[in-house]
């Protein structure tokens, strides 16, 4: 049984999705979905533990071993991200029932759970697989279900956002497909390990360069790197709140994983970061992304959009870490992947609670909220502090490691940019705080605290934000092992 855990991880939600159709009542659906997700979380925890104690797990699908068959390979990197994705999806799902009941019509709630499970299956598939084409297939599974999830939003703009994302996402995915196809053309294999071994022989081929370029652009579109982020703000803003929380916490993170995996384990470190001006481009885009997105975020009226832009900014930090190309830089990026998932998860769940009570989340709704929904607001503030990078929150840990990585590399000049980026975050978070705590509510609005089923998961994440900010040993340990694995594989 335990030998089959890697595939079980993916199969479980994949099979659960059609099973949902058999379950009639939403209550049952919700419990079932939660159960599946929790089971995945348990499995991924077990996987991480196994990987840390006894090394990589290799699983050949259908008994066909590597170059011929498809192979699933769990190492310290994807086990870490697996744990992140499954545990966050579980927490988010726990909060889903009431929020979805409020925001999605009864007749469509079934589709939410089905699409959610499919999306989860897709994301887990991307993480598990060791086969390049498989990545594309799972990417499309998760993307297609994401478009559906976004389109479930109440506002009609959700449809438009979903459509836009569909167009851009498909272009991105097709780019990835082209990239993988070109790689196959020159190497004749799709297995990542095999690719990594064969690619150095054909390093001079133009086909490789072209494939590399297509692939990178495609993935950067999926992870919403500035300026390829245009799909993200609207998608986050108009999707159902729970979906936003799920996507913000997991989807872009998985795309970052794909990027790291291909850069280090397929194309190879030397090829991708030394032969191209990619680090410089990334660094520049990262910095511009942080600044541009933060500045745009300041003027947002819709709070979901505000934090969506903040997500784009945070992706900028992650890319900056990767652009260093050092172990410390990659570790900082991985830490920020984890930490950013925690903070955005907490913030968007809190906003879900807010939308549950007030129906929308614009600056107007925030007036006087500090008194009316103290716990929800406190969660948003805690998440905001984490975004800024205040010590004792996770945001501080990843920023600290990022700054260290830059200092270690000797790029002192970049440090002020990171610091100023944090200051920009102070501004947009502060606008909210001022609105919520120091302004009176407009009308005689009666808003109580968010329901416990939403509040509790929110605070679990807030607590995680603080716990991993004070005791970051687990995350630092896991990321450092993952980084070692990456750099060990391609010295």
């Amino acid at each position: 049984m335990s030998a089959h855990l890697p595939i079980l991880q993916v199969i479980l939600p994949l099979l659960a999705a059609p099973t949902c159709l058999l379950l009639g009542r939403t209550q049952l659906l919700w419990m079932f979905t939660c159960g599946v997700s929790a089971l995945c979380a348990v499995i991924s925890f077990q996987l991480l533990h196994t990987v840390h104690t006894s090394g990589d797990i290799i699983y050949s699908l259908g008994g066909w071993s590597a170059p011929v068959g498809i192979e699933y390979r769990i190492d310290s990197l994807n086990a870490f991200v697996l744990l992140l994705v499954t545990s966050l999806s579980t927490v988010v799902l726990c909060a889903a029932k009431q929020s979805i009941a409020k925001e999605v019509p009864e007749s469509r709630q079934l589709y939410f759970y089905v699409a959610f499970l499919l999306c989860l299956a897709g994301l887990l598939g991307i993480l598990c697989t060791g086969d390049a084409f498989n990545v594309f297939v799972f990417l499309e599974i998760s993307s297609l279900s994401t478009y559906t999830l976004i389109a479930l939003g109440r506002d009609r703009r959700a449809l438009w956002a979903s459509y836009q994302y569909l167009i851009m996402g498909t272009i991105g995915a097709t780019f990835i497909l082209i990239g993988i196809g070109l790689l196959y053309m020159i190497t004749g294999t799709l297995n990542m390990r095999d690719l990594a071994q064969r690619l150095p022989d054909v390093e001079q081929a133009h086909t490789l360069y072209t494939g590399f370029a297509f692939f990178i652009v495609g993935v950067c579109l999926k992870l919403a790197l500035f300026p390829l982020h245009l799909w993200l703000p609207n998608a986050y803003a108009y999707a159902p709140s729970i979906v936003t929380a799920f996507l913000a916490a997991t989807a872009t993170k998985v795309a970052v994983y794909v990027l790291i995996r291909f850069i280090f384990n397929v194309f190879g470190f030397d090829f991708s970061l030394s032969q191209f001006p990619l680090p410089q481009i990334w660094l520049a885009l990262g910095i511009i992304g942080v600044f541009a997105a933060s500045i745009v975020a300041m003027s947002q009226h819709n709070i979901k959009r505000l934090f969506a832009f903040s997500s784009v900014a945070q992706i900028g930090y992650i890319i900056m870490g990767l652009s260093l190309g050092t172990a410390a830089g990659v570790q900082a990026a991985l830490l920020h992947v984890f930490n950013h998932a925690l903070m955005k998860g907490a913030i968007f769940l809190a906003i879900a609670g807010l939308c549950y009570r007030l129906g929308a989340a614009t600056m107007n709704e925030f007036k006087g909220l500090g008194k009316q929904m103290p716990w929800t607001m406190a969660a948003i503030v805690a998440g905001g502090l984490s975004l800024i990078g205040v010590p004792l929150t996770v945001g501080f840990i990843s920023k600290w490691y990022l700054v260290l990585a830059f200092i270690e590399k000797g790029w002192w000049m970049i440090v002020p940019f990171i610091v100023i980026g944090s200051l920009l975050a102070v501004v947009y978070v502060w606008r909210l705080v001022e609105c919520a705590y120091f302004q009176e509510a407009d009308s005689k609005r009666e808003a109580g605290e968010a329901p416990l089923s939403i509040l509790l998961p929110t605070w679990i994440l807030v607590f995680a934000n603080i716990y991993f900010g004070v005791q970051p040993q687990f995350t630092v340990h896991a990321t450092s092992i993952a980084t070692l694995g990456l750099f060990g594989a391609t010295p």
């Binding site: 010590p391 200092i407 200051l423 001022e434 120091f438 004070v470 630092v476």
Partner: protein, 494 residues
């Protein structure tokens, strides 16, 4: 009980008090009692800590070196969240907790006398600010200090904007913008720099930066710290202080005469002594530019104070100038001047809080805020104006007020190191101090009141009692400066 536990109680207890105050908010009588009781309790705790600390000092001279320290968490290797007792912090903690008690009495009187709204929020945030002040006092490293520094900034913002008017919010934004901006933009990078160079941020006697940086870099780092600790209000990072004067007077008194600004200069002093080390910093060849800036602040702020008719504004600029004395004393880099700086923290705290109390008392009794309205007020409010006079004497640096002692040490230190610039600045500013305080006293006692003004007496009892206590303390400290002096000396000895 061991001192370690007391130390943690001192930091955590105010938070508990804050929660209690929030819960009992609907019952003002009970709430105010809790405020007073917890303030008294905290003061007693701090006194016990002092006794334990004093005992450990005695032991230190003998055989075993036992420091009172607590480590809460190690966030990143070399980055702790921890506390450690040392003389300077002890001094600051004593001042802050003693004055919290007095201010609590005063605050209750003031808030009731003026029927302010949101009183619960006000009394709830006060202990948080004090907790932050104690956290800063006891911090064992730069990171811990930085965390509590920011907590203090954030927790005082609602106090500053208490009135909630458009003007108050605007001033609040300046307050927050300048303080957060300078701390994240300058202070934090400086901490990162120190960490990158030494691998630690701990406060160690003698400093941690020996032979680590070139003189030029040392000077730049010092500038980052002095300007980054925006609460020290060295020009041009001083704009927040006058802006914060929209706050109710007890806030101005405690926070902007004691906790906030003292946290700033205290941090600077602590960093100079325990991070740079006096000997190391004297290598910094360009430090005199920084000293010119500080000197300029002292003189310039005094001149600006002369031009302000609003009493609180004048006091605010006086604060800016007095704060820079402390920074100047730290930058003179002689052990004696450091003693002077430490003493001046205490002296200025008691003196300035008396002045602010008096200003609030005048406002509560007569609603007067401008100096030009104060003709003859000394006859109506003899206690208040007598206290004001004592406070003013301390600011100018005349006996029998404690300001005299600290200025004396500052001058001696400057003379020892032959920093004539500093001596000149101190002398000139003393004259300016006299120039802006004496006319007020003259008006109050020797001019006759304008006709047709409303008769009024002293403000309510709580206020008068509070300001009498601080005024007496100003004189008592002059007569018996043993405790602060001993503490200040032990810094210099290290």
């Amino acid at each position: 009980m061991s001192a370690n536990i007391l130390l943690q109680i001192a930091i955590l207890f105010p938070l508990l008090a804050s929660a209690l105050i929030l819960i009992t908010g609907k019952n003002p009588g009970l709430r105010d009692k809790i405020t007073l009781v917890s303030a008294t309790f905290l003061f007693i705790v701090v006194i016990f800590i002092y006794r334990a600390f004093d005992a450990s000092l005695q032991v230190e001279e003998g055989t075993a070196v036992k420091s009172i320290a607590v480590n809460w968490a190690e966030i990143v290797p070399g980055l702790h969240l921890g506390f450690k007792l040392e003389a300077l912090g002890m001094l600051f903690a004593l001042i802050a907790s003693a004055l919290w008690l007095v201010t609590s009495i005063y605050g209750i009187g003031y808030m009731r006398g003026n029927n302010e709204k949101n009183q619960t929020r006000f009394f709830m945030l006060f202990p948080i600010a004090i907790s932050a002040a104690l956290g800063i006092a006891f911090a064992s490293n730069l990171l811990t200090l930085f965390i509590f520094y920011e907590v203090m900034t954030l927790s005082t913002f609602p106090l500053v904007t208490h009135k909630g008017s458009e003007h108050a919010m605007k001033s609040g934004r300046i307050y927050l913008g300048v303080l957060i901006g300078s701390s994240i933009g300058l202070f934090l990078p400086a901490i990162i720099w120190v960490w990158a160079v030494t691998g630690t941020t701990d406060f160690v006697a003698g400093g941690i930066l020996q032979d680590k940086l070139s003189p030029l870099h040392l000077s730049i780092l010092a500038a980052l710290f002095v300007l980054g600790v925006g609460k020290a209000a060295v020009m041009p990072i001083h704009r927040w202080l006058p802006a914060a004067m929209v706050a109710p007077t007890p806030v101005s008194a405690l926070l902007h005469a004691v906790a906030v600004v003292k946290a700033g200069v205290f941090s600077v002093l602590k960093i100079v002594v325990y991070v740079f080390g006096i000997d190391t910093l004297s290598d910094a060849s360009y430090l005199h530019f920084l000293m010119y800036l500080v000197g300029f602040t002292i003189v310039m702020a005094s001149i600006i104070a002369l031009g302000h008719d609003n009493l609180k504004k004048r006091l605010a600029y006086s604060t800016i100038s007095q704060l820079s004395y402390v920074v100047l004393g730290a930058l003179i880099l002689s052990p004696i001047s450091v003693v002077g700086s430490a003493l001046h923290i205490a002296a200025h705290a008691f003196g300035k809080i008396t002045l602010f109390f008096a200003a609030g008392s005048i406002y509560t009794a007569s609603k007067k805020t401008e100096i030009s309205q104060l003709d003859g007020i000394g006859h109506r409010m003899p206690w208040t104006m007598a206290a004001f006079t004592i406070g003013a004497l301390s600011m100018i640096g005349l006996p029998p007020a404690v300001g005299f002692i600290s200025k004396w040490y500052l001058l001696m230190g400057a003379y020892d190191e032959q920093v004539y610039f500093a001596m000149g600045v101190i002398v000139v500013s003393t004259l300016l101090n006299a120039a802006y305080f004496v006319p007020i006293i003259y008006r109050a006692f020797f001019k006759t009141e304008a006709d047709g003004s409303k008769p009024h007496g002293e403000a309510n009892k709580a206020i008068v009692v509070a300001l009498s206590i601080t005024a007496c303390m100003t004189i008592l400290l002059f007569c018996f400066p043993n405790i602060p002096f001993a503490l200040a000396q032990s810094i210099a000895v290290q």
